[in-house]
């Protein structure tokens, strides 16, 4: 049957269909003429709030509709506190907290016991919060609550479950490029926030290899204590009775820790541009476009919400109208002002289109973006966008669980209780001028990063017609293989070179006797700036640096795992890239690195006639070139984290310091270009430095 005949048949059938008796016409109004009664007053429940004797904050809300009791605890930590060389630690900790069981019961036993009563307890880690939740039928809530408490207070982190999860995470890393939809957002975040910090990095095989049970226990101990936890419970109970139950349940948990520092600030400066990751097995290009945005607190947040909504917020937005409805280029297309509670979020657009219309779609997005930032939106658009928010406002209160979790989250992030109502009022007041102003200010085409994942062979117009295209390599790095070739001969040669250097410096025993050292120097940076610097090292990993710069003093301190910075702008936890630098300083400290052959966790291999590479399991790596005639180290070469720079440091002016030879002059090259000179005024060895001294805040 040809198509034409088929259609003819169908039309005939349709005509037949119309012989049905016509329905009696009953007049209905136009939607424009409908009158709506005022919306019933929303009952906003007020959660009971109190603090347990051990310091845990509690929020309770009764809800008797169903025989269920459920809870959610927020713990002030997050994967923002992952050490740089152990990315993924917090996530592993949170998962194994549940699967690894308690002292008394294995995780497998808990699985069976909970599922026998259809209860659940789960634990997870987010960027700036950890959570633990439970859900129970009312009748078995005692048992579920008990398990919840045992897991929270006495997790055992059994090794078999750590191994299981680590192997699963390795598998997940291998699968991370299989679903093209998830790639653009991930790569965009890495570019916007930087790959060298926890806001933007991805977990690689190498990092998982550094995560050990002891790390999990330490992370847990540092953050899981009553004063650092907020617990919300809702469901079928009486508030007084539940308060009593919780007091008793947690009565024996009294551990304490110093207050958790603030989360590291966002320091990245995004590199705008066009990026392409090639993926040959797709028929669509998936893309994400964005730049750094703001927080929910920002004064302009409501206007930005409205602006992003009009641009790409729903089925009626401009992006959907133009690119989906009119052009038929995309099934999904959106724009959003994704603000965070506590650190800058992103302004983001994204979607997918067939390979052939990739460039055209991105161009069409640019056109719409330009329009919204140069011309006022229409009164109708503004009105509909505001009405949409205001009329759907009631859905913020459609379940007690939503209200309770919002109240706790505001408290957690230090937001005012009435934040939502302030927001509502602000939306009412947004004008067309506001929308134009904030769009102009915050949607900045020159700052945008475009990430596309697709098959460029299928692109119609080349992507390069929009600008220079930077490739993204999706290759998954293999677990940390040292760069030097490690065989018995190179290892032996490396040790030989090191032994010769130890002798030249004053002997291995003399080096080993150095427990602390202080170095005072002056640095002449490129451009003429002079910096006074004092560096103090204390074994095994303490380090403090005090610097005097023209604009003020900067002090950095680390205990090897975490640390702080004190600058003229204030005091803050040491951001991950800085911590990584400090750890590098400690690692390369001469008395330490020159004894690398004594530390079984370090690898020493010769990479040339007079060069060795020394690397640690934590990802530290340095190449040292020796002076062929004296045997002394002539230079160190290493990567500076956070700056994507290769640093070459040359030593000279060797003098005697208490029986050791130490360099009094260092010259720095950054990526081959002069970067500064360091002149040492003096060294002090074993002066009896104390941790208290080093860690004292200025």
């Amino acid at each position: 049957v040809t198509r034409r005949i088929a259609i003819a048949l169908m039309i005939a059938a349709g005509a037949f269909g119309q012989t049905r008796p016509a329905a009696a016409p009953s007049p209905v109004p136009s939607y424009k003429d409908l009158k709506y009664p005022p919306l019933k007053q929303v009952k906003i429940p007020e959660p009971a709030q109190f603090t347990l004797a051990n310091g845990m904050r509690v929020f309770l809300l009764e809800d008797h509709e169903l025989p269920l009791i459920q809870g959610l605890a927020l713990i002030r930590t997050g994967n923002l506190f992952d050490p740089p060389d152990k990315r993924g630690l917090s996530e592993v900790m949170a998962e194994v907290l549940r699967t690894g069981g308690t002292k008394a019961k294995t995780g497998d036993q808990i699985d069976e016991q909970l599922e026998n009563i259809a209860g659940s307890v789960e634990s997870s880690m987010d960027e700036s919060s950890a959570s633990m939740s439970f859900s129970a039928l009312k009748e078995s809530s005692d048992q579920v609550l008990g398990t919840f408490k045992d897991l929270m207070t006495q997790p055992e982190f059994r090794q078999d479950k750590i191994d299981l999860l680590i192997s699963q995470l390795h598998s997940s890393i291998e699968r991370r490029n299989d679903d093209p939809q998830s790639i653009p957002d991930r790569e965009l975040m890495s570019i916007l926030y930087g790959r060298d910090n926890s806001y933007g990095w991805t977990i690689e095989h190498e990092h998982l290899n550094h995560i050990h049970r002891e790390d999990l226990i330490q992370f847990y101990r540092r953050y899981y204590f009553p004063k650092n936890i907020m617990l919300a419970v809702y469901g079928d109970f009486s508030t007084a009775a539940m308060k009593d139950r919780l007091e008793k349940l947690f009565a024996d948990w009294h551990v304490d820790q110093p207050a958790v520092p603030p989360f590291p600030p966002v320091t990245a400066k995004a590199a705008s541009g066009i990026y392409l990751a090639e993926k040959p097995d797709v028929t669509q290009t998936f893309f994400a476009i964005g730049e750094l945005g703001g927080t929910l607190r920002d004064k302009d947040y409501p206007a930005l919400q409205v602006a992003a909504d009009i641009l790409g917020g729903g089925f009626t937005s401009r992006l959907v109208s133009e690119i989906r409805t009119k052009l038929g280029y995309a099934y999904q297309i959106y724009a959003s002002w994704a603000a965070n509670y506590d650190h800058p979020g992103t302004f983001r657009m994204g979607g997918s289109t067939k390979s052939a219309s990739t460039t055209e779609t991105l161009q069409a997005i640019n056109v719409e973006l330009e329009k919204v930032r140069t011309t006022e939106v229409t009164p109708l658009e503004l009105n509909e966008a505001k009405e949409s928010v205001l009329n759907s406002f009631v859905f913020f209160f459609d379940s007690p669980a939503k209200t309770l979790s919002r109240v706790m989250r505001y408290e957690y992030y230090g937001y005012p209780k009435d934040f939502l109502f302030t927001y509502q009022k602000a939306i009412e007041g947004v004008t067309r001028e506001d929308v134009l102003r904030v769009a102009k200010e915050h949607f900045r085409p020159e700052n945008l990063t475009f990430v596309a994942v697709g098959n460029p062979k299928g692109f119609g117009k080349p992507l390069a017609s929009l600008g220079k295209v930077n490739p993204i390599d999706l290759t998954i790095p293999e677990a940390g293989a040292p760069s030097g070739k490690s065989d018995p001969a190179t290892v032996a040669r490396g040790h030989e070179l090191l032994k010769r250097a130890q002798n030249a410096l004053g002997g291995a025993e003399k080096l080993a006797s150095v427990k602390d050292s202080t170095q005072v120097l002056e640095m002449a940076a490129q451009g003429g700036m002079k910096i006074k610097q004092s560096n103090r090292y204390l074994a095994p990993g303490y380090f403090r640096q005090d610097q005097e710069l023209p604009f003020g003093k900067i002090t950095a301190y680390t205990d090897g795992k975490m640390g702080w910075l004190s600058t003229p702008q204030g005091f803050m936890p040491m951001p991950a890239p800085v911590l990584k630098q400090a750890q590098g300083e400690v690692f390369r400290n001469l008395p330490h690195v020159m004894l690398a052959d004594r530390d079984p966790s370090l690898e020493v291999t010769a990479t040339g006639e007079n060069a060795v590479e020394i690397s640690s399991q934590d990802g530290e790596r340095v190449t040292i070139e020796f002076d062929a005639s004296t045997g002394l180290p002539a230079s160190e070469t290493y990567q500076q984290p956070g700056a994507a720079a290769k640093i070459e440091e040359t030593f000279s002016d060797w003098r005697d310091v208490e029986g050791l030879k130490m360099p009094f002059k260092m010259t720095l090259l950054q990526n081959g270009k002069p970067a500064g000179e360091l002149t040492v005024q003096g060294y002090k060895l074993n002066s009896g430095l104390k941790v208290e001294e080093l860690s004292k805040r200025p």
Binding site: G17, Y36, E174, K326
Partner: protein, 495 residues
């Protein structure tokens, strides 16, 4: 063991109580034209969720027009003669003009190898102009705009094998607006922007199926497992069918299947049933009663041997193993559900424990008792993502070993009691959302003729014994009705 018996008894009571309590909240009525309504009162907050369940799905797609049910679903958001147009008489005229031009293209195309591509190109230019003209009368996305600006949330729709669903929520003072909008779009849908939307639908297929290793695997699995029955087609349809949809075909499909007797509507939330009924009569009473839609005649012939399909994909491997099973009206349906939960639900499922937790050969492994849908005989599906370094073959063997064990060894009383308790609890947890309730009650009412089946099916679960599990595993999980689909990395194709 007394303790355990108590444990299983108490949720049974709970469910019976829940049903008694719950019945008080439900009002059911049918309009003279056959449209069925379920009203569920929940006055906790002044909001209401609406769910329109149409008893039509991709199984009803005409031959060579796979994806047409889904295409209509997209057209249901395009408005009416009064919503979405700047000038209806002119728009209608120009929409009809498009079809005249399109007929010329089809006339040329049907010449097959003798068709003149240049001629087709020339008419395509004409077609573009005709479409542009019709589009100039369109008030884009007007229907969505009315819903969104009145505070509607969660508006969307879905097309599955056996059903098409339309849903969203409003503040409860906008109930009448929903009645007006929903009845209008099914009374007089206008298929405007049809050929643009066809492109959007095509993009949806590229996203969900063509660019996803799992999507392509499932497509191959279904096309292999089913030889005749329409479950062999994904609801989105095949690419070339979508590319050639015509508007009259979609209109014809609508006329046949969107008759009031084929539609069930669930409304849950802060709603007065008497008022809802009055409005239902006023607005949906306008829909003319129609003839009964056609039914699916094709019955899948018995499978007479194992089938295998390999899908080339430069990604980490996936494995799907599917066995033929009867439809959801079979007496064994409840047993198969319990069996699937024993095998893969939670952290105590046998497959999870053995393949994921203990042997670590799979990153994820699970089962689904009914796939892709249940109105017709379908599949009992196993899905495995092997761990890095472990093969499809190794996982397939491990899976079969577990299946053979289930056929031989009875599961413990504790295991079976656990699954039953979880099934009951999951029912209770379903009752706390308006949108979930509206959708579930419609689905049970249409699929089983009575929404109460949502509660009473627990009785069927209660009757399942360890012997039943063995019997059913032996009966259905057999090699001759098995289909295996897996991905492999093509030669020379780097990952």
């Amino acid at each position: 063991m007394k303790f355990r018996v108590l444990l299983c008894l108490f949720p049974a009571l709970l469910a019976a109580q829940s049903l008694q309590e719950f019945e008080k909240k439900v009002t059911e009525f049918t309009l003279p034209n056959g449209l069925h309504f379920l009203i569920i009162e929940r006055h906790e907050a002044p909001v209401v969720s609406f769910h329109t369940y149409v008893n039509v799905g991709s199984v009803d797609d005409p031959g060579g027009r796979t994806g047409l049910a889904h295409m209509f679903e997209h057209m249901a958001f395009k408005g009416t003669p009064t919503i979405g147009t700047k000038n209806w008489p002119l728009e209608k005229k120009s929409m009809d003009a498009i079809e005249v031009v399109y007929d010329k293209i089809d006339a040329e195309k049907r010449k097959g190898f003798q068709a003149d591509p240049k001629k087709i190109d020339a008419i395509e230019v004409e077609l573009k102009a005709a479409i542009a003209k019709a589009d100039s009368y369109v008030d884009e996305n007007a229907y969505d705009r009315i819903v969104e600006s009145n505070g509607g949330v969660g508006m969307n729709a879905s097309t599955a094998e056996d059903s098409t669903n339309y849903f969203y929520s409003f503040p409860s003072n906008r109930i009448e607006l929903w009645f007006l909008l929903e009845s209008s779009r099914f009374l007089q849908p206008v298929f405007r922007e049809f050929y643009k939307e066809r492109e959007v639908v095509r993009e949806e297929r590229r996203m969900r199926v063509e660019s996803s290793p799992q999507g392509r695997l499932v497509e191959a699995l279904l096309a292999t497992a089913f030889e005749a029955h329409p479950y062999r087609n994904m609801p989105g349809g095949w690419a070339s069918d979508i590319d050639n949809f015509r508007r009259p075909e979609a209109e014809q499909f609508y006329k046949q299947y969107y008759t009031p007797g084929n539609i069930t509507i669930g409304i849950a939330g802060d709603v007065n049933p008497a008022e809802a009924r009055r409005m239902a009569e006023k607005y949906f009473g306008r829909l003319p009663r129609g003839p009964l839609p056609p039914y699916v005649r094709t019955i899948e012939p018995a499978q007479e041997g194992e089938k295998r399909v390999a899908v080339s994909s430069p990604s980490e491997p996936f494995l799907a193993v599917a066995y033929k099973r009867p439809d959801q009206y079979s007496k064994d349906d409840a047993v198969l559900d319990v069996l699937s939960d024993i095998l893969s639900d939670g952290r105590t499922g046998l497959i999870y424990k053995e393949m994921v937790r203990d042997k670590k050969i799979a990153l994820a492994a699970g089962s689904q008792a009914t796939f892709p849908s249940g109105k017709y005989p379908s599949l009992f599906l196993f899905f495995v993502a092997p761990s890095t370094g472990h093969t499809i073959d190794e996982n397939e063997k491990a899976l079969y070993a577990i299946i053979e064990r289930v056929k031989k060894e009875k599961v413990t009383a504790e295991t079976i009691a656990r699954v039953k308790t979880k099934l009951r609890a999951s029912l209770i947890r379903k009752l706390d959302s308006n949108s979930g309730l509206a959708s579930e009650l419609c689905s049970y009412a249409v699929n089983y003729g009575d929404w109460k089946r949502l509660f009473t099916e627990l009785e069927d679960y209660d009757h399942v014994t360890a012997d039943d599990i063995v019997r059913v595993a032996k009966k259905y999980l057999i090699p001759t009705t098995r289909t295996i689909a897996y991905t492999y990395i093509p030669e020379g194709g780097a990952k």
